[in-house]
Symmetry: C2
Subunit: 213 residues, 2 copies
């Protein structure tokens, strides 16, 4: 009799689950949470609707997993920048640039993570991750104040403002889509962010084309 154990069969299960999460992420990035029905997601993954429940107890659980994975990646990347090298102001500038660039590279996903209407479970998760974004920005702002590079301010509020500001600029169809316009947008955004935190202007003119990580 075939007992419930399976040597490499488990990996097939795990792979199917991963594939499901990946496909669901794609669907959500393309059509938003509201249009991402269980059927649509299952179709995209090439499985039946019922099979989704082999991997997740509910649609909400799948949605939360999708959100956590995607948002976690962003927080991870942002954390690397914020905790990287350079003075606090440089790191703040890099953080905003990286945050914005990644969002511009995958607008659909950025919209889903930051703004798209979603079920309550995802909304709650969104608040959690927004706070993480904010905490990262707040850290570097506080460091900048401690180093005397930024004027006294409430780091939390500045951080919240930066999160909201970048999101607002990115989310609705304001900027063009060609690479040149993207560079200009990034330059304006980072300049705005530095002003917002009170960094003294006129350090570097915020170079356009050369690669600035």
């Amino acid at each position: 009799m075939a007992y419930r154990k399976t040597p490499a069969e488990l990996s097939r299960l795990e792979a199917a689950r991963e594939r499901l999460v990946a496909c669901a992420t794609t669907v959500v990035a393309e059509v938003g949470w509201a249009q991402a029905s269980v059927t649509a997601v299952a179709d995209a993954a090439g499985i039946a609707a019922g099979s989704v429940y082999q991997h997740f107890p509910s649609k909400a659980a799948l949605a939360v997993e999708v959100f956590r994975r995607a948002a976690g990646r962003e927080v991870e990347v942002l954390g690397q920048v914020v905790h990287g090298s350079g003075d606090p102001v440089e790191r703040l500038e890099s953080a905003v640039r990286v945050f914005a660039r990644r969002a511009l590279e995958n607008r659909g996903l950025a919209h889903a993570l930051l703004a798209a209407p979603a079920e309550p479970a995802v909304g709650a998760e969104r608040l959690v991750f927004r706070r993480r974004y904010r905490e990262l920005f707040a850290e570097v702002v506080r460091e900048g104040m401690a180093a005397g590079l930024l004027p006294p301010q409430d780091g939390e509020i500045t951080a919240a403002a930066l999160t909201g500001a970048v999101g607002e600029v990115l989310v609705d169809p304001l900027a063009a889509h060609d690479a040149d316009a993207t560079d200009v947008l990034l330059a304006e955004l980072t300049a705005m962010a530095l002003r917002c935190a009170g960094a003294r202007p006129g350090r570097r003119p915020s170079a356009r084309s050369p690669r600035t990580p």
Copy 2:
């Protein structure tokens, strides 16, 4: 026979419609769009669910009307401040303070207008009004630049950032609710906004308690 004409009966109809919109606004401010079912709204207005369709062809139409009224009031008030007296920087500061204060005074409504998940029709309307907010901020930023009070920048981007920043700070449960904390929050917010637009600091120390319209 009573023909379809009605002298003062029309006003009763109009009053009922107004009452419906007002009650729906209250419900939305209290429980959000998602929980504001036709039944709930009708109950709040003291009418039957079916009667809603005497005044609006669909729930979406009612929702859009509710949104337009409320958001229109905000745009109106903001426009008065932006087109009021004082130098551009003063008007920018006032605009942010008024925007934020009004939102703090009615958090539920602010959340509904700025962030709460909503049906597509309301989402579309939200984009329209966000653009109006932005245009107002952008105007005063451009004036500030023309007057040499603000450094060169993309007024649209700064305006979008201000809208997003204020929304972000206000919307999620960050700030306390007592009057004192509100004053501090408003002071920090306006200071952040002035930095964000690049206004030279140190003009007025942004008084706390005295009434600053």
